[in-house]
């Protein structure tokens, strides 16, 4: 059986992150949470996650800065990132590269799971087609 996918949730709202964690663990993911951008970055550097759920507005280091440093560390778009945001930031999201998807708060957990699933499926397809 394939190893469980590791997900890093970065959101300064601890309980918001907890709710997602409970949901994702129930869906079979292994979840770590961080509550500011720097913590997220450090955790991601220590142990490379398979996907990151990233809040935009966070103390210490915001989502954008965190994303930039992640890209610098692992390579542009190496780790899929779903940004958790309020809707006025859409333009920036469209413009920023390296984001796989985004969720507008408040979102359905089911929707989030669907999107994550899709990302993993796509990545797996790409991996198998490039190295048959």
């Amino acid at each position: 059986m394939a190893a469980r996918k590791r997900i890093l949730i970065a959101d300064d709202e601890k309980e918001l992150a907890l709710a997602i964690k409970v949901r994702l663990e129930a869906a079979g993911y292994q979840v770590t949470t961080a509550h500011d951008g720097r913590e997220a970055l450090e955790l991601a550097k220590q142990d490379r996650p398979d996907l990151i759920l990233l809040d935009v507005l966070m103390p210490v280091m915001d989502g954008y800065a965190c994303l930039r440093q992640l890209n610098a560390h692992y390579g542009h778009g190496a780790i899929p990132v779903i940004v958790l945001t309020v809707r006025d930031y859409m333009k920036d999201l469209f413009a920023l590269e390296g984001i796989e998807d985004y969720m507008i708060k408040p979102f359905d957990h089911e929707d989030l799971l669907l999107r994550m699933d899709r990302i993993f499926r796509r990545r797996a397809e790409r991996a198998s087609s490039s190295s048959p």
Binding site: A19, R23, K91, F94, F107, H109, E110
Partner: protein
């Protein structure tokens, strides 16, 4: 015409004349006083009020003209008529200059006495008219002043109102954003409970949880409503327009909605034109509108179903159409969809469905702000179609418009307007236009990220360079933004292609009003700084007539792009349309409107920074190679002292 009799003072030293004149005046209904000397008369003025003064120019003590001057100083509104003898007309003229209302020449037989009352009445009438006119003028001035005061008050009130509206919008936006985090947490845990992830749930508990969830969705709908309300007030000025490629935008929106569609087993079919239409619009808003239409279509269509998104380009507009195979809407209910949320009560279930993008009333308003239309058609039981159009505009026109309105705004607010530009010489050669387009797209996106404030705009300048128009940004600010963009650009070029691209982007900025007073001037400055003309790309204007002109045009045409003009007006006309790097002028070309052509060119905004070379017989007798070398020298001299562009080794 006057109710009370008019008092006349008569300065007259001849007793006989005085008596006769007084009688004539009294007969005509005037009150008359006689003074035989100037001094006496001037003294009497302070004892009694006179409306009219008849002054004999020859008085024994003070000269009549001097008496007149003093009267005019003391009583400027009075009517003063000078009485002269034959031969004293020059003095009469002087008196008129000093403000006399009229003059009478004494006749030896006293004939002038019959004319006197008429002359006095005329003088009084003129005086009255002048007085009335002055009063009117004063009144008009007073009105103007009051109006100006009221305008200033209105302006102040208007500013205040704008500030409050902005404050309110900000507040609503802030609050509605901050409500989202706790709501997300509540929604998350409610669904965790309802989905029995935290243990078994009784039937009643399940029922109550569903009520909680319905109300969470209702609350989410209200927050969106609140946000739309705050944004409903936006005007055209708040749109952040730029040139938007609609195919990638449509693809991005549809991509976002795919998971939802797949989850609901809805097929999303997209019809896109081969060539991506480009409109001048607020990409974020257009994305939201489309997202709203597509997400609604997916949500209202029973599964399995189909949603079709079509983008069509027509001559003057583009049209987005989103059709579904949903339940449809009764014709009578269609207008309700577009009703302002503040006026109509939206059912909670419907509100909850407006999860993404902006609501329909807001969408329609946004489309209309762009100069387009949004409408819906539907057949109950078969499905609905929502469509909207956006007008197409000529990029060059839009660019100039923006530049001009930016400068106009700057002029009104004493503010600055800056242009920043990026250009890549390597991309100018059309070896791989696709690759060039892709790189420019990336650059454009970066530039837009760095330049995202109201009133700012990013445009692709005809001639492959990118220009950002920054409102209210001075030279220093523009330089900073330029550097930030350049840094971002380096990142993009490395990452977007995966491999390092050895490509140098020239960048430059120009600021109104220091560096140019009109859009044309700013563009010339910018072009000059941006583009160091090299031999292959330089445009040379040859202003010459006849055989010599033809010879030089042919010779230079081998090395440069030659623009030929046969006379001054022709040259100016072409300069307005196209910037050139060097101008060669035949001294035999006649002056334009009497002004020597070199002077005209030195003052013209499009040519004043351009090197001007003399095309005389000596020049024309050189070989084509020598001519080209001379032109190249002039180009190098021009580009040499400029230090706006960085040395090549720091590029990329």
């Amino acid at each position: 015409m006057t109710m009370t009799p008019v008092s006349v003072m008569l300065f007259e030293d001849d007793e006989g004349q005085a008596t006769l004149t007084r009688e004539a005046l009294e007969q005509a209904g005037f009150l008359a006083d006689v003074c035989s000397t100037g001094r006496e008369g001037l003294k009497r003025m302070f004892e009694k009020t006179f409306q009219v003064f008849l002054i004999d120019i020859r008085l024994p003590d003070i000269n009549g003209v001097e008496v007149l001057r003093r009267i005019k100083t003391i009583q400027p509104e009075s009517v003063a008529i000078v009485v002269t003898g034959h031969g004293d007309e020059t003095q009469a003229v002087e008196a008129m200059k000093l403000g006399a209302d009229d003059y009478v020449v004494k006749s030896p037989y006293m004939g002038h006495l019959t004319a006197l009352p008429v002359i006095i009445r005329e003088g009084l009438d003129r005086r009255q008219l002048r007085h009335e006119r002055q009063e009117l003028e004063t009144e008009v001035w007073e009105h103007a002043r009051l109006l100006e005061e009221r305008n200033a008050e209105l302006r102040r009130a208007n500013e205040e109102l704008k500030r409050f509206t902005q404050l309110k919008s900000n507040l609503v936006t802030m609050v509605s954003h901050q409500l989202r985090d706790p709501l997300t947490t509540i929604k998350g845990f409610a669904s965790i409970l309802a989905d029995k992830l935290a243990g078994p749930v009784t039937e009643d508990q399940g029922k109550y949880l569903r009520i909680i969830q319905a109300n969470i969705d209702r609350l989410a709908g209200m927050i969106n409503e609140l946000l739309d309300m705050a944004r409903m007030e936006i005007g055209p000025a708040q749109l952040r327009k730029s040139f938007v490629d609609l195919v990638p935008l449509t693809q991005a929106v549809v991509q976002t909605m795919r998971p939802l569609a797949e989850g609901r087993r809805i097929d999303v079919i997209v019809h896109l034109p081969h060539e991506s239409p480009r409109v001048f619009a607020d990409s974020e808003r257009v994305g939201e509108i489309l997202l709203n239409l597509v997400s609604n279509a997916i949500k209202y269509t029973p599964s399995p179903g189909r949603v079709t998104v079509t983008l069509e380009e027509r001559e003057e507009e583009v049209q987005f159409t989103v059709s579904d195979t949903g339940v449809g809407i009764a014709e009578g209910d269609l207008p309700k969809l577009f009703e302002d949320l503040r006026k109509s009560r939206v059912e909670p279930a419907e509100a909850a469905l407006q999860g993404l993008g902006v609501g329909l009333p807001m969408s329609r308003r946004l489309v209309e702000l762009h100069g387009g239309r949004l409408w819906a058609t539907s057949v109950k039981g078969e499905g609905s179609t929502f469509a909207f159009t956006l007008p197409k505009q000529d990029p060059d026109h839009v660019f100039r418009d923006h530049l001009q309105s930016g400068i106009e705004r700057g002029r009104q607010t004493q503010g600055r307007v800056s242009l920043i530009a990026f250009s890549c010489a390597e991309l100018g050669s059309p070896e791989s236009p696709e690759e060039a387009g892709r790189i420019y797209d990336a650059v454009e996106q970066r530039l837009r990220l760095a330049v995202r404030r109201h009133g700012d705009v990013v445009l692709r300048w005809p001639g492959a360079a990118l220009v950002g128009v920054l409102a209210q940004v001075g030279a220093e600010g523009a330089q900073r933004i330029l550097e930030r963009c350049a840094a971002l650009l380096g990142e993009t070029l490395v990452t977007s292609a995966g491999t390092r691209l050895d490509m140098r982007f020239d960048h430059a900025c120009a600021t109104y009003p220091e560096e140019g007073a009109t859009d044309a001037e700013l563009l010339v400055v910018l072009r000059r700084r941006l583009h160091r003309p090299d031999a292959q790309h330089a445009s040379v204007m040859v202003i010459a007539a006849g055989e010599r002109g033809t010879r030089v045009q042919e010779a230079l045409g081998r090395s440069f792009t030659v623009i030929a003009a046969s006379h001054g007006p022709d040259a100016l006309e072409q300069l307005n349309r196209k910037a050139v790097d060097v101008i060669l002028l035949d001294p035999e070309v006649p002056p334009t409107n009497g002004e020597a052509l070199p002077d005209v060119l030195r003052n013209h905004p499009m040519s004043k920074h351009v090197p001007l070379m003399l095309l005389d017989e000596a020049f024309a007798s050189w070989s084509p190679e020598d001519m080209a070398a001379r032109v190249r020298e002039a180009l190098e001299r021009q580009a040499g002292p400029s230090s706006e562009t960085p040395p090549p080794d720091t590029g990329t």
